[in-house]
């Protein structure tokens, strides 16, 4: 009897051990901003991998064996959604576990949890890279980060209930720090309100909306379509009459169009980090917003 007791105890502890000891929740983030947020909420209870880096356009990636391996092992998938990853995520997901498929707890599409801008009623690719469900570059409004942090906290608690207290604690800490930061950013960015800017792609729409900047033009004639010469000509004429303060773009936008405009008009072009990088100055969500606002403040001086 006692033998049976011991073996069953051993068996139970064996079964529980992967959860109770060190098994981490494996998070597959499509973009670095979600990797960073997952680390804030999950801390050392999660192991996060990002499919794209800060210098890569998240619309497109090349497959490497490790990417397929990581998605097969993932317990939680966190992406911007809203068709940003439509070129590669569906094929990658077809190779993944059923727990992270669409509609499951392990499938978190961030844009479903925030109010979106730029929704379009026309479902026609001739309009360019319009995402019918709205602009997917949602992370550049820090208020959106709060909404997604809450959802991420819920999901992590459901996937790994043993650590739910820890997730809640990390979430609450993050939220109070983040709310303070938002206040500071909003005060510092008051100077930026209403300044006229040009963007390359609609990657900064949420930032512009948050800080009430005035986007007077896009270099791309239609989203995702390389600028045409006629469009640039008309932009040049317009900008000579009514100049913008600067042109903002991501590290992965092509340079030719903005170079051409800034040479002809002397309007500065400004590369903003767009997402969390891996360098010392920009390695988390806080520094991403700090840097973005600093760079813009310097440019208006």
């Amino acid at each position: 009897m006692s033998k049976f007791y011991i073996t069953s105890l051993l068996a139970i502890s064996f079964m529980l051990s992967p959860i109770t000891t060190q098994a981490k929740v494996r998070v597959f983030a499509c973009e670095p901003e979600w990797k960073s947020l997952s680390q804030e909420i999950g801390k050392n209870y999660v192991e996060v991998f990002s499919a794209t880096s800060a210098t890569q356009d998240p619309h497109y990636i090349r497959t490497k064996p490790s990417l397929i391996s990581k998605i097969r092992k993932a317990d939680l998938l966190i992406c911007s959604g809203s068709d940003l990853e439509v070129g590669w995520l569906p094929i990658l997901l077809s190779k993944a576990h059923k727990n992270i498929q669409i509609g499951k707890i392990g499938n978190l599409m961030a844009s479903e949890f925030v109010p979106k801008i730029g929704k379009s009623k026309i479902l026609d690719r001739s309009m360019g890279d319009i995402h019918p469900s709205g602009n997917p570059h949602i992370h550049l409004n820090p208020h959106n980060i709060l909404l997604i942090a809450r959802e991420l906290n819920d999901r992590l608690k459901k996937i790994d209930p043993n650590n739910s207290k820890n997730y809640q604690k990390n979430h609450d800490n993050f939220v109070s720090k983040w709310k303070n930061s938002i206040k500071l950013w909003e005060v510092r960015a008051l100077k930026l309100k209403g300044i006229k800017i040009v963007v390359h792609h609609k990657s900064f729409s949420y930032l512009i909306d948050w800080l009430k900047l005035d986007e007077i033009a896009t270099l791309e004639s239609k989203p995702g379509i390389a600028p045409t010469s006629r469009h640039l000509e008309s932009l040049l004429i317009a900008l000579r009459k009514d100049p913008a303060k600067f042109i903002i773009k991501t590290p992965f936008d092509p340079e030719d169009a903005s170079d051409w405009i800034s040479r002809k008009t002397k309007i500065k072009d400004l590369i903003l980090p767009y997402t969390v990088g891996e360098d010392k100055e920009n390695n988390n969500l806080f520094s991403l917003f700090d840097n973005t606002i600093n760079l813009m403040l310097e440019a208006v001086k």
Binding site: H59, R62, T63, P65, I91, L92, S94, D129, I130, I225
Partner: protein, 250 residues
């Protein structure tokens, strides 16, 4: 590095790579002998142009896409056959020009398309690791048909028959692995097989080794598999040529 999981992940790419190595091993020798090495680029690009046009005018991806790509490829191959008959001396020139024209038309059609340049890049270098066994099953009958006809009906190897089976094979291959792998797998093993006692065997061995090395290195160094295959096709062909020189001089 190389474990069961990686084998599982890369097995569709390996299977499709070997299938293409076997089929193209046959076709490539003939292409090189005819001196029309750019025919595969031209046909692949014209089939690609068909896909681009289908993508613009048809809303949903479906079997009709395949039909249009094949239609484009077959029309082109009949045209090239016709040129061979009436003006063999300029056939390669016409083929080269058709390639440039089809490529330019693709760029033109995609210029108004979001991320058009990425679609072109995709057509060129492919995404072999994204291939699934389902894709392979869809295209398998074509490869079996081509290899079967080649050996059972040797007449098909000359005349219009060759151009037709070539169009079928290339249309499938270019969608699975992209133009770079298609070109490398046709031409490089054929170069290795030139002046060999058993050219077909040499070409097949060259193809099989290149595909396997491509996948193995993709796993070890975590790199895209298609372009690595192209590089190994080149390296293995060079090694075979050097070995032949060594044997001859001995």
């Amino acid at each position: 590095m190389i474990n069961m999981e990686m084998i599982e992940i890369t097995s569709p790419a390996l299977v499709v790579g070997l299938l293409i190595a076997l089929t193209h091993g046959l076709l490539g020798i003939k292409v090189l002998k005819k001196g029309i090495v750019f025919i595969d680029l031209a046909i692949a690009q014209i089939a690609g142009l068909g896909l681009v046009i289908a993508g613009i005018f048809l809303p949903e991806y479906g079997w009709f896409y395949q039909f249009i790509a094949l239609l484009f490829a077959i029309s082109a191959s009949i045209f090239f056959y016709y040129i061979e008959k009436i003006a063999p001396d300029i056939q390669e020139a016409v083929i080269g020009c058709s390639f440039v024209l089809a490529a330019s038309l693709s760029v033109l059609f995609l210029s108004n398309h979001s991320h058009g340049s990425d679609e072109i890049k995709h057509l060129l270098s492919g995404q072999i690791l994204f291939v699934t066994f389902q894709d392979i099953l869809q295209h398998l009958p074509i490869y079996i048909g081509v290899i079967g006809l080649w050996f059972l009906k040797p007449k098909i190897r000359s005349g219009i028959g060759f151009y037709l089976i070539f169009a079928f094979a290339i249309t499938s291959s270019v969608q699975l692995v992209g133009i770079y792998v298609v070109f490398a797998s046709l031409i490089l093993p054929a170069i290795a097989a030139k002046n060999q006692k058993n050219p077909l065997l040499t070409s097949w061995i060259c193809g099989i080794i290149s595909v396997i090395l491509g996948i193995v290195f993709a796993v070890i160094f975590d790199l895209p598999a298609g372009v690595l295959m192209v590089i190994f096709y080149f390296v293995v062909t060079c090694l075979i040529l050097v070995y032949n020189l060594y044997v001859k001089t001995k």
